[in-house]
Each structure stands twice: as structure tokens, then as C-alpha cells.
Amino acid sequence: MKRRQAALVVRIAVLAALVILLEISCRTGTIDPLTVIPPSDMVAAMIHEIGSGELNASIKATFSTILLAFVLAIGLGVATGALIHRLPRLCDVADPLLASYYSVPTFIFYPLLVALLGLGKAPLVVLGVLSATPAVMIGTLSGLDGVAPVLMKLARVHRLTPARTFCWIVLPAALPHPFTGFKLALSYALIGVIAGEFILSGTGLGYAISFAYQSFDNPTMYGVMLFVLLVAVIANGVLYVWEGRLARRRSRG
């Protein structure tokens, strides 16, 4: 335990040292201020950008798109995962497909989606769903595979209805795996949506960054960038901690 805390302290110190190093080299002009602005200015720019309210529409657009894609991906992924798991032959066929899925950069389909659905929210949602769903499917499949046969026998012995079997046996036994899938799905949806906005879009935070870059507006660019990265890190961090708790509770029970 002590060792873990020590690692945490050193980790924070390393990160802080890197930030301070960046600050110093920006202030002394070792790094051109036209390339990278000092971290303190980034924070100030972020607070200014968020406080001014100009970004409110973009923030709303981006996060509602991510949330929608995430929810859809979970629904679709769990449903198809459960369905495939019931059909072993389909499972065998889907396996190599799922294994190769993430080797294909999903967002190369984005230009096609834009041509198909127009430049609105729809192609972004579809892109998010496309990149997040397989993670949920894989998690669901490995979760269902991990339910010990003896537990299913137990359910049969007690003559549980399918609904009760699911709630009382399958869900508690399988949960950590799908949860890992959900965690990945969130970061994939986030990456997919922001990448889409960044490459080709008229709204959202990704677009705001790309627009600021193209108009040489460095403070805005770094401010928005920092905001997006902070949100991503916090969201992933919360899920990471939650996942650890879930796994620990399982190993204890």
C-alpha cells in the first residue's frame, strides 16, 4: 500500500515537473510562443473561453452527441452481444470480425457518412456508435462466457425465470467484463465524435479547435484543447476508479 502511494506521489511530481519545465521554456523563449503557449496561459485561456459563454453551444453539441452515441452503443452492443452468444456458430463467425474491427481506422468512413447523412449531428453519432459498439459487444461476450456453468445449473435447480436468472445470476457474475467494455466505449465514442468534428464539421469542440488553428488563434486553440483533454481524463479516471471498486468487490464476494 505504501509503495502505491509513493508511486502516486512520484507520478504527480513527474507530471508537475514536466508542466513547470514547459512553463519555463516557454517564458524564456526556448520554445517559440507562436508554437506553444505557457501552461499558465493555457489555463487562463480555458477559464476565459468557458466563462465567456461563447463555447456553450459547442459544449452542448459535442457532449450531447457523445452521450447519445455512448447510450446507443451500449444498447446495441449488449443486445447484439447477448444475441450472438446464444448462437455459437454465429459467435465463431463474428470472432475474427471483432478481432480485426479495431485495426480498421473507423473514421475513414466519416466522409462517406457525411455524404450519406449530411453535415449535422447524425454522421457524428453514427461514427461514435461505430467506434464504440464493438467494445461493448466484446465485453458482453466475454462477460457471458465467464459465467460459470455451475451458476446456471444453480438457477435451473431453483427454477428461476429467465428474467430472475438474468438479474440475480448472470448480471452479478458477468458485470466486470461489460463494464470494461463500457469504459472503452466511452473513450472510443469521445475520440470518434471529436475526431469527426475535427476533420469535417461545422459545430462542436473539435471544430472549435480546428477553426482556432486555422485562424492562428493560439490562446483559444490551447484553451479549448486543454478543456477537452481535462474532460476526457476526468471521465476516464472516474470510470477507472469505479471499475477497480467493482473488481475488488467481486473478488471479495
Binding site: R3, R4, A6, A7, V10, R11, V14, L15, L34, T35, V36, H85, R86, L87, P88, R89, D92, V93, P96, L97, A99, S100, Y102, S103, V104, P105, F107, I108, F109, P111, L112, L113, A115, L116, L144, D145, V147, P149, M152, S187, L190, I191, I194, A195, F198, I199, L200, G206, I209, S210, A212, Y213, M221, M225, V228, L229, A232, V233, N236, G237
Partner: protein, 277 residues
């Protein structure tokens, strides 16, 4: 559930080796058949989608294939393909070598590994696309920005996989090496590398696809050459067969490379099991 139902049919026969060989052959044939069906279903789906949308977004499979063949005979296409390939090869080689070195180094030093690993894992999950403007400001438009962006994507998984492999090495292997008084070089050659190989190949596989992704994002966002540029350009000019053909090429390359490395990885993993047991 699922997997349990199929297994018992192949067991309990008189001549297990012959029986299992025959069963393996049938299973393989069945799988090949299923794969062909899957490919046909996907092609049919592609056809239906393109017909249903009157070809505004994707062109039908056959037409795309014909277009692709004519595209493959133009030198312009090869210019773009070679540009992408060059950037990707550099990015992948750098990610693989640096990641391997970093992973071996951090895996051997427990505390350093513990400090760095969560930072890398956190970096792995953030949307790195947003950092591309910084990369462009640092490197300017062109090859080096793309390569650097590919390395950003590919380096982290390679490092994490190697680190994990070294850390999870069974202590008995290291102890055996010490008992046999192997020199450090021999320990690496005969113990470390064979034991970590399956994980290293897995890391290479993920690193391959991610550095490919990084290079393509770079080309799609702001570049004048390469497959990513060709794709975005095809869409901007409303040249549907062109963008569909480029997407097809990218998908085929990605899946082929991934499948190949999965196979190699599995073979090494099996060999490791056989040697260990």
C-alpha cells in the same frame, strides 16, 4: 450456455487422435464455409446500402472493384500510396523500437514502471486528434508531422504490452536462468524474448493499426498527399467511386495485416505453452 453445447460431441470416441484430426478438419471446413458466407453477406449489405442511397455516399462493390483496378494503373494513385506507406513505415518502426526499449526498461525497474504506467494508460484513452494542431505547429506541414503523429498513437500500446509481458514473467524463469548462470545476453536471448514474444507480437499488432490510424488522420486533416488526402479529396470533389475505392484499400490492408499478426501471435503463444508444459 453457448460454447458448452458444441464440445461434448467430439469427445469419448475410440481413437482420439484420428477422431480429433477428422473433427478438426470438419470444423475447419465449416469455419471456412461460414467465413465465405460472412464475406458474401457483407458484400450484399454493401450493395444494398449503396443502391438504397442511389450511390451518393458509396458506390456498389462491383463498380468499386472495376474503378479500383483502373486506379491501380495510374501513377498518381501510387504516388499517394507510397507517401502514406513511407510515413507509416517510419512511424511503425519508430513506435515498435522505442516502445520495445521503453517497455523492457520500465518492466525491469518495478518502481519506475509503476510511476509511468498509469500516465501512459491515461494518455492512451484521450482523444489525441485534438493534439494534431500542436504537432503541426511543432513540425510544420509534411512528412515529419504525420510520422510523429503516428508514433504518438503507436508508441504507447507497444510500451504497455512489453512492460506487462516483462512484469508478468513467471519468477521461476528468471530464477532458472540465474541457477544456470546464464549471462545477461543469454538470459535475454533464451529466456526473456521467448517468454515475452506472444505479448510483444500483440503489442506490435495494436501498434501497427494505431500508427496507421495516426498517419491517416494526419493526412485527412491537413495534407496534400497520401491516401487520407485522396479520400477526403474524393469526397470534396463528389467522386464517390474514388473515396469508396480508397476506403476499400485501407480496410483490406488493415484487416490483412491484423489477421496475419494474430495468426503469428497465436502460433508463438501455442509454442510457448507446449514448451512450458
Amino acid at each position: 450456455m453457448g460454447g458448452a453445447t458444441g464440445a461434448p460431441t467430439f469427445t469419448g470416441m475410440s481413437d482420439p487422435s484420428l477422431q480429433s484430426a477428422r473433427a478438426g478438419l470438419t470444423a475447419r471446413r465449416l469455419r471456412a464455409f461460414d467465413t465465405i458466407v460472412l464475406v458474401l453477406v457483407l458484400l450484399a449489405l454493401w450493395h444494398v446500402v449503396s443502391k438504397g442511397t442511389h450511390g451518393v455516399a458509396i458506390s456498389p462493390p462491383l463498380q468499386t472493384l472495376i474503378y479500383l483496378f483502373s486506379l491501380l494503373q495510374t501513377s498518381g494513385f501510387w504516388d499517394h500510396a507510397v507517401t502514406t506507406l513511407e510515413a507509416f513505415a517510419l512511424a511503425f518502426a519508430l513506435s515498435a523500437l522505442l516502445g520495445l526499449g521503453l517497455g523492457l526498461f520500465l518492466g525491469g525497474r518495478r518502481f519506475a514502471g509503476e510511476v509511468i504506467e498509469p500516465i501512459l494508460a491515461g494518455f492512451y484513452t484521450i482523444p489525441k486528434v485534438t493534439l494534431y494542431p500542436v504537432v503541426l505547429l511543432l513540425f510544420g506541414l509534411g512528412m515529419s508531422a504525420k510520422v510523429f503523429f503516428g508514433v504518438i498513437h503507436g508508441l504507447v500500446p507497444m510500451t504497455l504490452f512489453t512492460l506487462g509481458a516483462v512484469r508478468n514473467l513467471p519468477p521461476v524463469l528468471v530464477r532458472t536462468a540465474r541457477a544456470l548462470r546464464l549471462s545477461p545476453q543469454r538470459t535475454i536471448r533464451w529466456v526473456l524474448v521467448p517468454a515475452c514474444l506472444p505479448d510483444i507480437i500483440n503489442g506490435l499488432r495494436i501498434s501497427f493499426s494505431l500508427s496507421f490510424l495516426g498517419v491517416l488522420i494526419g493526412e485527412m486533416f491537413s495534407s496534400q498527399r497520401g491516401l487520407g488526402f485522396l479520400l477526403v479529396n474524393g469526397m470534396a470533389q463528389n467522386n464517390v467511386p474514388l473515396s469508396t475505392a480508397v476506403v476499400t484499400v485501407i480496410v483490406v490492408i488493415a484487416i490483412a495485416a491484423n489477421t496475419l499478426m494474430l495468426r503469428v501471435g497465436r502460433r508463438f503463444a501455442r509454442r510457448g505453452d507446449a514448451a512450458g508444459g
